[in-house]
Symmetry: none
Subunit: 74 residues, 2 copies
DNA sequence: GTGCATTTGTTCGTATGTATA
DNA sequence: TTATACATACGAACAAATGCA
């Protein structure tokens, strides 16, 4: 398929976070909510949150720092 | 069936790992590569890897420890 | 220096849905 | 219909890195 299925949970989470980063809801350098917070907010599992965040990292939107958190790049 | 079909993917993975254990590539007590590593190495799905490894466990070649890994017995 | 809490990393367990032969 | 195989998704446990009191 050419386009990712928008109903895939990790895609939903990823898109929501990417949109908020694009909107400037989080300034560059700020920390994203942690995995537990995202789990609560999106009502998904940790693995789903992790997949979404790792996709954002692969897209260059965030940087993940183990033990510290995930930070917005731009 | 008396003999497993060698073209079944899980049998291929199972046989490869069993051969490597028999060859001593992994000493007893060492940890096998995790499921994700085997997925990448054999280019199969997680369920296929899991089936292969569980067959090895049923044969007494490995011991599976959830949250830790899979370890060679002999 | 020690211990604890927080956060991300890793690994296996399980269930479900889809596609294929 | 059954068996294989893949992907998604949830959960649990263990582990490592970090920061702070």
């Amino acid at each position: 398929m050419a386009f990712p299925n928008p109903y895939l949970r990790y895609s939903v989470v990823e898109a929501a976070l990417a949109a908020e980063i694009g909107d400037g809801r989080w300034a560059p350098g700020t920390r994203l909510p942690g995995e537990n917070a995202l789990i609560g907010r999106f009502r998904v599992s940790r693995s789903t949150v992790r997949r979404a965040v790792q996709n954002l990292a692969a897209r260059g939107l965030v940087e993940i720092h183990p033990g510290k958190g995930t930070f917005v790049i731009r």
